[in-house]
């Protein structure tokens, strides 16, 4: 049975946590023989981390981060902005990148350890979409992968043991943050936590052992408890000062412009609104809202599939058909939904960097009022 190195840590700083994961990669890559590493850790509350190429100013509420003492950081892995703290368990796997597997397959493979760990807590989580683990359609963990030039691999995940949703909406500039009082409910409809599923208050620390056991069983490995070497500690310290704590890394800008917009679809049940946020020609997030008690499952599926999809009318239509089949659950065909998404995306791209959305009521304007960046489908 393969033996992996196992490291556990608590209350680490944002830059320190990311730097240590990268420092672990030094012993891996083409021609290197170091044992794979599993690191399970929690960040000191709180750290807001955006993805490798996101614009921090577009993803985080910088003022709120400063006001609440929330550290700001940038991951080497892709994906969207997240909040980490004692309520979330950070997972890092470091090993050699196999040449015969697609990134998506690697994500799925390593996610099996988390799925198995959550199963030990009585939670039936499944790999969903491009890179999420979900429970009954609600995200419980995000996944990311970073391969460096030497062939070393870093798998990252954040498991939501618990989540302070109002706080998250305060520091992350996500679409739901603009929904005002309706924001927490919109998030709760899309996200779940171990606490919610088990009806027991949980933290990253309390679920750590279950996740470690899950990795052992799912990947048929043994874990050997370990401590950081002097070299790793030194390398990590250098990476903190030279990379992760620098403004050059944290506030770097991608060549792609951020933009957002919205559009509406008339359905037999009322108006449905779609909000899209783009970076370049990629949809980084989409959200449907409307006058429904529970979002129809096909619509939720489409919303999830839109994340990181190309903003292209044919691609959006194909995605809508694949996600919804013939029934969107709204009484309109999938093509009409796709058209609404495309109209919002096209308008956002036309704007380039979109005008800031109006706070508060912009998502629920008075009847007949048109908000900036909104079109009707």
């Amino acid at each position: 049975m393969t033996v992996w190195r196992y490291l556990a840590a608590r209350n680490v700083g944002g830059a320190e946590g990311l730097a240590f994961d990268e420092a672990l990669m030094a012993g891996h890559g083409r021609g290197q023989q170091a044992a794979p590493v599993l690191r399970l850790y929690t960040y000191a509350s709180h750290v807001a981390l955006c993805g490798r190429y996101q614009h921090i100013e577009a993803e985080l509420n910088i003022d709120a981060c400063r006001r609440t003492g929330t550290e700001i950081g940038r991951r080497p892995t892709g994906g969207g902005a997240i909040v980490m703290g004692v309520g979330q368990l950070g997972v890092a796997v470091v090993t050699n990148a196999p040449t015969t597997m697609r990134p998506k397959d690697l994500l799925e493979q390593f996610s099996l350890g988390i799925v198995c760990g959550l199963a030990k807590l009585g939670i039936d989580a499944r790999f969903s979409g491009k890179n999420d683990l979900k429970v009954d359609g609600r995200k419980i963990a995000g996944l990311g992968l970073y391969l460096d030039g030497t062939g070393a691999l870093l798998f990252h995940s954040s498991i939501l043991a618990d989540l302070d949703i109002p706080f998250m909406l305060e520091v992350l500039d996500v679409p739901a943050a603009k929904l005002g009082a309706a924001g927490p409910a919109a998030v709760a409809e899309r996200i779940t936590t171990v606490s919610r599923e088990t009806r027991e208050p949980c933290t990253g620390d309390t679920i750590r052992d279950a996740v470690a056991l899950g990795f052992c069983e799912a990947l048929a490995i043994e874990l050997a408890e370990s401590t950081p070497t002097d070299t790793e500690v030194r390398d990590a310290a250098d990476l903190v000062t030279g990379k992760y704590a620098t403004d050059e890394w944290r506030f770097q800008r991608s060549p792609q412009a951020d933009a957002n917009s919205s559009s509406m679809v008339k359905t037999p049940g009322g108006l449905v609104r779609v909000y899209v946020a783009l970076q370049g020609d990629t949809i980084k997030s989409a959200m449907f809202t409307g006058d429904f008690n529970e979002m129809p499952a096909p619509l939720a599926e489409y919303e999830s599939a839109l994340k990181w999809a190309r903003a292209d009318p044919d691609a959006l239509t194909a995605l809508a058909r694949r996600s919804c089949g013939h029934d969107t659950g709204l009484g309109v065909p999938p093509e009409q939904l796709a058209d609404a998404v495309w109209q919002a995306a096209a308008q956002a791209m036309e704007h380039g960097v979109a005008a800031p959305l109006i706070e508060g009521s912009c998502y629920f304007p008075e009847s007949g009022e048109v908000v900036p960046g909104e079109v009707s489908a």
Binding site: Y53, T100, N131, G280
Partner: protein, 152 residues
């Protein structure tokens, strides 16, 4: 197009050389430089490209070292150079809208231009010539399908 072959469902331009492990094509450009872009098999196996970042003009790279980074479906990874040389141009449009690499991988979706230090010496690492290229590309696709990297 006469210089394009359909190989196991992938369009392969025959007017250029390929590094089939890095999934990059290399085409002689103006002067001493070559133009480099990603082949359709690389695009298929990476998934939707959401970000591209290339080394600055003037950067010197060794063969096998990264000249850029890509993000595709939440995976961030290196784009490794098929040749040693100096970056002399990068495609700002591709960085701003990576979708053009999927729409036109052999044309507007190019990545960088590089002046090779030893093109003749390193050329044997590339695959070119109609018969050799088509056979090698087909073998790569078959290999990926056997491994499950590509759908049947």
């Amino acid at each position: 197009m006469s210089d394009e072959h359909n190989v196991r469902g992938f369009k392969v331009r025959l007017d250029r050389a390929y590094h089939l492990d890095f999934h990059l094509w290399v085409q002689s450009s103006e002067g001493d430089s070559v133009r480099i872009g990603m082949d359709p098999l690389g695009l298929e196996t990476s998934g939707t490209l959401s970000q591209l970042e290339f080394a600055a003009v003037g950067t010197i790279v060794a063969r096998g070292e990264p000249f850029g980074t890509l993000e595709a479906e939440k995976f961030v990874g290196p784009i490794r150079s098929p040749l040693s040389g100096m970056i002399v141009a990068s495609n700002a449009e591709a960085m701003a809208s990576p979708g053009i690499c999927e729409r036109d991988p052999y044309g507007e979706g190019w990545f960088v231009e590089l002046t090779p230090f030893d093109f003749d010496g390193e050329r044997d690492q590339l695959t070119e010539g109609t018969v050799t290229l088509v056979a090698a590309f087909a073998a790569k696709v078959d290999d990926y399908r056997r491994q499950g990297v590509l759908a049947e």
